[in-house]
Symmetry: C2
Subunit: 220 residues, 2 copies
């Protein structure tokens, strides 16, 4: 077969849910604000059906609250939300790392992702760093061998949370160090260490986000 990558059409509902999710994360809606299905459909120039599906997806992911026969409510991305979100993510990522250390056989891809990143000059651009970070975590999800865990973590991944935090060079080197330690744990099949280090790694990024958030509040 000819090496053409299949250009796949994504359903409208998916595109809309990512757009809305980003909008919510970036604070384009106030916390607790009522958000009317019909209005969103009009804004994006589509029918209510795919918007409705997007709403339900966002509700399942915890970004919207749906009420029978009433407008949806935007969940506020405040400290409480972020703590809850990262608490869950930390323990799921930790389990993924545990599994990778326990079951993983071929770690070459994980190594290469790290090596390629370390060859670059710091600080990397925001997009570069996000791409690397995403690849690193996704690779561990793969190694976990738990497809459902992969799906859950993928749904929880919100790259823009950390947007303001990453361009600083010392943050990037800290992430490198943390990732290198994780790779070591995994390659050495030290499951418990991988679990603990990953948990701390994620909680660390939460704390960083909260710090940024706090500084932002003081400025305002």
């Amino acid at each position: 077969m000819i090496p053409f990558t299949k250009l796949e059409a994504t359903p409208l509902s998916d595109r809309i849910s990512t757009l809305l999710k980003d909008a919510i994360i970036e604070g384009q809606f106030k916390a607790g604000e009522e958000i009317v299905l019909t209005a969103i459909a009009e804004r994006y120039g589509v029918s209510r059906t795919p918007v409705r599906e997007a709403f339900q997806s966002l509700a399942k992911d915890g970004f919207l609250t749906l009420r029978m026969n009433k407008s949806a409510i935007v969940v506020g991305i405040d400290e409480h939300f972020l703590r809850n979100h990262y608490e869950i993510r930390s323990v799921l990522e930790a389990q993924a790392a545990y599994n990778a250390a326990a079951n993983g056989k071929d770690f070459s891809r994980l190594q290469r992702i790290q090596d390629d990143a370390e060859k670059m000059r710091l600080p990397m651009s925001l997009d570069e760093f996000r791409s690397y970070n995403m690849k690193f975590h996704r690779c561990i999800w793969d190694l976990s061998g738990n497809e459902r865990l992969q799906q859950l973590l993928s749904d929880m991944w919100v790259s823009s949370y950390s947007s303001s935090a990453l361009p600083e060079i010392h943050r990037q080197t800290r992430t490198f160090n943390s990732h290198r330690r994780l790779i070591n744990d995994i390659i050495n099949h030290d499951c418990d260490a991988a679990f603990e280090h990953m948990k701390r790694h994620i909680i660390g990024s939460l704390n960083n986000i909260l710090k940024i958030l706090d500084e932002g509040k003081k400025e305002a």
Copy 2:
């Protein structure tokens, strides 16, 4: 106000998704079977719209695989699936127990649920035991103070997994012992013990289910 409990209408999509979920768990569909939206809509005598929403919900919960412009595929509830499912559930329940031990203040409800159950004559009926077990776990989710965690665990709860396992009296007393130990951990604010014990508790029930499943296979 008069003590009437609000009788609430649930959306069709919710009712259909629970029906379908149960059907999948109970093996009414073969693993990997294609399941046609239109057919399900006809079978339940509703339009495709709510069925479609149910499909998307089930897909998010990992019981269906959706493919663009193609029929959905039923995920097989085999050993691999159960291991993945319980691995995730165990670590989330464990985190909930950890939080309950860390943050919880008023444990009277948890105590009362356990006390009421222990007053009953064993073996309890299947429904009684399920109700007690559900209340116990839900109470800990509440105490965790993480609403999102609560939502996730609620979506993962499938009572009928354990249907065949519970009527035996020695299983019920084992569960009692395990729950009592958990209550102790939580009341003593021993977070790490609560985490570990809950994790083992859930993995224990997985192993029990796998055992039952294995015996069923030998018979057939």
